[in-house]
């Protein structure tokens, strides 16, 4: 297990490095002069030169990359070019909102999707299975931004039950939960379908294994067979999927953060790309990559703990 853990961590470090390199190259390949986009048409040559020097844009790209990596190792993500606030501080303000939204969205979708997948697998081709199939494909197929808009129109504009904008007052837990309901619903709905289909497919495969047949032959209760023996194995790919899904949601919640005017990492990346505010973009993407790698690492470790055979695959 320790050898697997070490290899997996080294792999994660390599992934982070390559991702940062890819980010850096991509960011600097975006068409358009970052200085004029950031400062607008009125900026004087002196101000442009000062900006370029502050961002190290006057240095070769490889030099900028080395500076950035060096600063990251020192824990310095730089300052926002416009407000001069620490990027780390800005991101620490935004990240909790995204994490809470991602956990809530994945959480509620797992609570519904996994049992739904189990039930479908236990009674394949039944009416329940067919309805679950239709609902799953339906939720996967509907774009999340459409779900958001419909949800707003129904629950906020029509019924006036739920709020549209913001994340609630700090310190008012009830208000924050209340502002979380619609975005979490919109973000998580598609995942209900994904998880139900994944669990169903895995369960069907596992349910045809010999040890399940043996358990049936021994007369064990079907509930025990499903939840104690079959689901434990069938859930493995789902854990990986949840890990990857959670990582994807860290930046993929951007539409919900924009439509619901919530703070968050996705929204800040979107806004900062438009403003070419490189330090914040680099910091935000770095944090996202880091979180993604950590979450997938945890998911892989859980899988390897549940299924020791996986440890030999790396």
């Amino acid at each position: 297990m320790w050898s697997y853990l070490l290899k997996r961590i080294l792999l994660s470090v390599l992934i982070v490095f390559l991702a940062i390199l890819a980010l850096f190259i991509t960011l600097h390949s975006i068409p358009g002069d970052p200085i004029s986009i950031a400062l607008g048409p009125r900026a004087t040559p002196e101000i442009q030169a000062e900006y370029a020097a502050r961002m190290h844009l006057d240095k070769p790209l490889y030099h900028q990359f080395v500076i950035f990596i060096g600063n990251v190792i020192k824990g310095d993500l730089g300052n926002d070019l416009f407000s001069n606030r620490s990027v780390l501080l800005i991101l620490s303000e935004q990240l909790p909102y995204t994490i809470v939204l991602a956990i809530t969205a994945i959480g509620w979708s797992a609570l519904i999707g996994i049992p739904l997948g189990c039930l479908s697998a236990v009674k394949p081709n039944s009416l329940l299975d067919k309805i679950t199939g239709i609902v799953s494909v339906g939720t996967i197929a509907i774009p999340s931004f459409l779900v958001s808009i419909w949800a707003i129109l129904i629950f906020s504009v029509g019924l006036k039950w739920l709020p549209v904008i913001g994340a609630g007052e700090p310190g008012d837990f009830g208000d924050q939960i209340y502002h979380l309901i619609l975005p979490a619903f919109a973000v998580g709905l598609g995942w209900v379908g994904y998880l139900a289909r994944m669990v169903r497919a895995s369960m069907l495969e596992v349910m045809s294994e010999n040890y399940i047949r043996s358990a049936n032959a021994f007369g064990l209760k079907s509930r025990t067979i499903i939840f104690r023996y079959a689901l434990k194995v069938a859930i493995l790919p789902t854990i990986t999927l949840i890990g990857v899904g959670f990582g994807a949601l860290l930046s993929g919640t951007v539409f919900a953060e924009i439509i619901f005017s919530r703070p968050g990492i996705g929204k800040i990346i979107y806004n900062m790309v438009l403003a070419r505010n490189f330090p914040v973009i680099q910091g935000a993407v770095l944090i996202t990559i880091g979180m993604y790698v950590i979450v997938t690492l945890i998911a892989d470790l859980i899988v390897s703990w549940l299924d020791p055979r996986v440890r030999d695959t790396l």
Binding site: A38, I165, A167, Q176, P263
Partner: protein, 516 residues
């Protein structure tokens, strides 16, 4: 097992009861809709990057915040002209280059920095004249300080728009010399001292800016004690939030405006805050395909701008006949050409051009793309094939600038929109000779145009200015390089109980908001 089932049932019952009860009483914790209490909830379209008037980020300053917090010598009145601000006893233009002013006594800076003084005024304007926004201060020379409260602004040349486009604008804000120097000479979103009807009580970046009435303010009390400015960058989301009752005022896009004109939400009003934007299709007069003026004139006659107004803007924009926007001196009611496809075909034939293929570059948003498609169809009708090239803001704003690569050489047609200030001199500044290869992408120049531009800036007689700016637009028509399209309005939806106040450039002046 029974025990477990009971517990689960009890849990479900509890959840259901809580939900129903919550819905029934409509009072989940912390919910407060816009109409509640004395807090006005308004939409801010963008996050605050900097409140320092010398270092505003990007193309437009956050005037709506600064005007609520900071002193100025003049403000915009409800008719769009300038009025003395609450911070001055008097302000009078003595002659074309001298403006005398006297500050009100006892206007106190926050944080113990004393009174607003003439020295603060001089410091603010001197600083502005060398800042990123020094373009607004080209005519400013210095402030003569007479005493603590009075002085004279001295201009280096007569400059008719000085009051409206400089002093009343976002760059006319006065800052506290002592406080700014103590803060290191520069600040961002935390003002070292303010003096206005409101104070910032809380700023949660990306979420909300809370303004609360300033207890030390000794000017007229604002109508609303509390204003929450919610950052909603997406206009459709703002409209939905307004309809859900979470905002009292929100800016609406052209398509939403069209929808509201047919079916406006209950107890709501629409206010057009201005139409100081001018959109046109430009042509590169240096491009070999467009070098012949008859080809350019053919294109002018082929495009039906009224179809753009209807098709791309649902009839909500005003048709444009020049770069001077509605309500300003020099605004025309017809251009030097008209929609005439027959004449367009004849001009092409006369030029010996057939099978012409052109590219049309535009920003990739809904209205511009629709506009491009209408133009494409118009030009197809006279035998010109147009390829539309949609672009992101980055490459779009660089493409005509010589310093930003060679795209300017390939430019043929493009759809452009600029914003104007409240004075007609502003749009013309982008088309003078010095702007060729910078913002004059059409790449023409004219001695007469240069001469008239200088005269227009210095002229104070409205009739003479009208004649100057009309002639300047005729010169632009004669280049054949422009097809004027629309003046897009800035529209706000708000509660009928609210009487909002806007600058001519459609920024909210929240300190002057009142109940209708």
């Amino acid at each position: 097992m029974n025990k477990i089932l009971q517990t689960r049932r009890q849990l479900l019952q509890t959840i259901a009861f809580t939900g129903i009860a919550g819905v029934a009483i409509g009072k989940f914790p912390g919910i407060a809709y816009a109409a509640d209490g004395a807090t006005l909830k308004i939409q801010f379209e963008r996050e605050l990057d900097s409140l320092d008037p010398g270092y505003f980020v990007g193309g437009s300053p956050p005037c709506d915040v600064n005007w609520a917090l900071m002193p100025a010598l003049v403000h915009y009145g409800r008719d769009g002209g300038w009025i003395p601000s609450p911070h001055v006893e008097s302000i009078v233009a003595r002659d074309a280059t001298h403006i005398d002013f006297t500050l009100r006594k006892g206007m106190m800076w926050t944080n113990g920095f004393g009174e607003v003084t003439t020295e603060d005024v001089a410091y603010s304007y001197d600083r502005e004249a060398v800042s990123e926004w020094k373009g607004d201060y080209v005519a400013y020379d210095h402030v003569e300080i007479k005493d603590k409260y009075s002085g004279t602004i001295v201009l280096n040349q007569p400059f008719a728009p000085f009051m409206n486009t400089t002093l009343a604008s976002g760059t006319g804000i006065i800052i506290c010399k002592k406080a700014v120097e103590a803060a290191g000479g520069k600040f961002t979103t935390e003002q070292p001292a303010s003096c206005g009807p409101y104070l910032i009580s809380e700023h949660r970046p990306g979420q909300v800016l809370k303004l609360r009435s300033n207890p030390e303010w000794n000017g007229a009390k604002p109508a609303y004690e509390n204003i929450d400015c919610l950052f909603v960058t997406e206009s459709s989301a703002a409209a939905l939030a307004y309809e859900a009752g979470e905002l009292d005022i929100a800016k609406v896009s052209a398509d939403t405006y069209a929808r509201y004109l047919k079916d406006i939400p209950a107890n709501s009003s629409l206010t057009v805050a201005g139409a100081l934007q001018y959109m046109w299709m430009g042509m590169n007069t240096d491009h070999p395909k467009l070098k012949d003026i008859r080809v350019r004139q053919a294109i002018q006659h082929a495009v039906d701008a009224s179809a753009v107004v209807q098709g791309a803007y649902s009839g909500t924009a005003e048709q444009s006949y020049g770069v001077v926007c509605p309500g300003l001196t020099g605004r025309r009611d017809k251009a030097g050409y008209s929609y005439d496809p027959t004449k367009a075909k004849a001009l092409l034939k006369e030029a010996g051009v057939s099978g012409l293929k052109l590219t049309l570059r535009t920003l990739n948003n809904q209205e511009r793309m629709l506009t491009a498609q209408i133009i494409q169809a118009n030009l197809a009708a006279i035998g010109i094939t147009v390829e539309i090239i949609p672009l992101d803001g980055g490459p779009f704003w660089d493409m005509g600038q010589e310093k930003k690569g060679d795209t300017w050489k390939e430019l043929e047609l493009w759809i452009m929109r600029y914003s104007s200030g409240p004075d007609p001199y502003e749009p013309f500044q982008w088309f003078v000779r010095g702007q060729v290869g910078i913002w004059n992408w059409e790449r023409w120049s004219s001695d007469e145009f240069e001469d008239l531009f200088a005269k227009g800036v210095a002229e104070t007689d409205t009739g003479k200015r009208e004649a100057i700016y009309t002639r300047m637009q005729e010169i632009m028509d004669e280049t054949g390089a422009y097809v004027y399209l629309t003046h897009e309005p800035e529209v706000f939806i708000h509660k009928s109980s609210l009487s909002p106040h806007f600058s001519p450039t459609a920024e909210m002046i929240v300190g002057a908001f009142k109940e209708a």
